[in-house]
Symmetry: C2
Subunit: 418 residues, 2 copies
């Protein structure tokens, strides 16, 4: 078979599996996930052996320590995969839930029932644990999944795929419910992205380059976010006691993630009260600050920002500082430099908070709390498969329910349309 | 300006207008719609004069009577546009509605607020009334809209656009909230479909050719349905008294629309009781029937179907007839030939009905009622902008709420993540 034929065949098999999964009982789905957990533990030696092949190849290719770290299936990574599976098992099954049932004047009963999306393709980079996490969520929501991880993790992913397949077979569920694309050519991705008759949704996770590539080449709907450039606007009516804890948490608790803070906007009326102390605290925590000309006099720790700094996703201990003249100014700045991911305001003023919530366009708007809360677990969705800044279908973290769609269920007793 | 520059400029203006529309008061949006209604009446002579240019060009080009009919802005078409506007005014504004608010253990209040999608591009064929209907719905949901109608309706659409713009100006709303692309080149569509930084959603409406063209060329999410190949499965446990009324209504009440019936599947146990009488009734109503070999002996009105007939969207008084051996057979047939639009079952058996609802994949599944009910108005959504068989974002009729998305609103009093 050619590469194209192989990938097309994967799509056809996934679609057939999806039809079987549609009405699979929750306990059967949970049985698969539980079995995966047991096999991960039982086959740890095998997994780590395969993983070592990827690590060795990575070391030879000169991957950075950070990349090798992400690639490694250590004992604790395996434990966290098992823990993740247990969490997904504990989540309620969204499939079959019917919302908003109404009785129409002609007696028809109309509701919207959560049903699986069908086939989901996940395209991701190094971390092999995504293979298990994503498969578990998609499966619990009744979807078949096609996984295409990074080439540097190919041995690890194929080993994990064999465990997933064994668990499916042992639980007597269609083993094509989870498939891993075994080819490392990028061509394989391009072919997948054209299978709109077999695949319902593509979720890319990784660097902006990969995501733009997927988005550009897909004829299938894509849920994604390119980057997270999150801001906190410190309003003139901010409670000053709340400012430093929120800014420090949002910037430093985990600087490498998409909901970390990348910039603060400070109202000019309170900049003198806020910035000198805040900048000192941030500097002590190792945060580099790049500020507008108006901010510079308030702290020796701030260096002048260049035009490219505004709107940059630093993903490290670096923060932009901008003094604004008004709420409107802050809003315009966010509209220009934000990424529609997470935007926060710190204020005690009711109307300003209300307006910020209504008028700022982001997947999450936050009042008086850290931007780090824009996360499926923190918001009560359970595990998440990613965060969308695409406004269609899901805006923000995507949990189990976002991996379903809603069809209309119309129950009658002979009604015809007049 | 080049064509490309012009279209890009339209997108930029629309995006700016969308920012203004986000938080526009309901009464202001309704004021625009009300004003449009008044201008449609006041400017009827102008509209019909411009429309006559399109009709004359159409006649010269030899358009069919049916096409000229769809193109005409008769008094009654104008009245129905005005009536449609009133209906949209009467619908509740979805923007700002917050759903599923929960209190998290740390005291954060988390809800999901309906917000406008942003900029919607509508690409459609002949009927100029779509210009008003679509603009009204998009605007009420707080979106800016870019309209690109068929070249044969260009004078009518530009006349309607001038009325929309006057109404926006008179109500002091950003006049770029509704823009009509004045170019008739197909190139204009291709350029629009690449403006992913300005446009959030594309909705094509028209023939399958147009929709496939849009889908193939768009880098922006598209909501669409290619066609509606709807079936009714007459189960062995059907109440025979319900069969003919439902089948006749679904096939003949309005055969040219997407939720009309295109095929019936009859369980072999009851085919002898159902088909002879049903086929006679259908034949008397002028319905042509194309059946499988097993169906032919039951009525002289049925001719043998060819392979291409199965799954065809006839859009006229023609119906496929297939005898099936079981519920499973009916399901497989629907999976193979259906279009995920509307699928109905006629049965009194609880378990069979329950399984049909759970296991058949379509934007609407119907028990004991006509397929014609898969319509926004009939399902209680109010006016609809179209029906989606794309599973992402909306599956089925799209009303006002489907023209919005939901962002997370996180309200705290200083929470940080631990």
């Amino acid at each position: 078979m050619t590469l194209e034929e192989t990938i097309v065949e994967v799509g056809v098999r996934a679609k057939a599996a999806a039809a079987d999964l549609m009405s699979l009982a929750t306990r059967q789905k949970d049985a698969v996930l539980s079995q995966v957990g047991e096999l991960l533990v039982a086959e740890k030696a095998f997994l780590q052996e395969e993983n070592e092949k990827d690590l060795a190849a990575g070391r030879e290719k000169g991957l950075s320590d950070a990349m090798l770290d992400r690639l490694a299936l250590t004992d604790s990574v395996i434990e966290s995969m098992v823990k993740g599976l247990k969490e997904v098992i504990a989540l309620p099954d969204p499939v079959g839930r019917t919302l908003g049932s109404v009785k129409r004047p002609n007696g028809l009963s109309v509701g919207r029932m959560c049903v699986p999306l069908g086939v989901i393709a996940m395209i991701y980079e190094s971390r092999p644990n995504v293979t298990i996490d994503a498969a578990a969520l998609c499966l619990k929501a009744g979807n078949a999944i096609i996984l295409r991880g990074g080439s540097e993790a190919i041995h690890s992913n194929l080993a994990l795929a064999s465990i997933l397949r064994r668990a499916l077979e042992e639980a007597e569920v269609n083993p094509d419910s989870v498939q891993v694309i075994p080819m490392i050519d990028r061509e394989a991705i391009t072919i997948m992205l054209g299978l709109e008759d077999s695949i319902d949704l593509v979720i890319p996770r990784g660097g902006e380059g990969l995501i733009r590539f997927v988005s550009k080449n897909s004829s299938i709907p894509v849920l994604k976010h390119y980057k997270g450039v999150c801001h906190a606007y410190i309003d003139k009516d901010a409670d000053l006691a709340k400012v430093a804890p929120i800014v420090i948490n949002a910037k430093t608790q985990r600087p490498g993630v998409c909901n970390a803070l990348e910039g603060i906007l400070i109202h000019e009326d309170i900049v003198a009260d806020v910035l000198p102390g805040l900048a000192t605290e941030l500097a002590e925590l190792g945060v580099e600050m790049r500020g507008c000309s108006q901010s510079l006099p308030f702290s020796e720790h701030i260096v002048a920002a260049s035009e490219e700094d505004w709107g940059t996703e630093f993903l490290r201990l670096c923060l932009c500082v901008k003094v604004v003249r008004s709420f409107e100014d802050a809003k315009s700045y966010i509209r220009k430099y934000g990424s529609q991911h997470t935007e926060a305001i710190i204020t005690e003023n009711y109307t300003t908070a209300h307006r910020f919530v209504a008028e700022v366009d982001a997947s999450a708007v936050v009042v008086n709390a850290s931007t780090r809360f824009n996360d499926g677990g923190e918001l009560g969705l359970g595990a998440e498969i990613g965060i969308s800044t695409t406004k269609l279908h899901a805006y923000g973290p995507m949990g189990l329910e976002e991996l379903t769609t809603k069809k209309f269920v119309i129950l009658g007793d002979g009604q015809i349309r007049s």
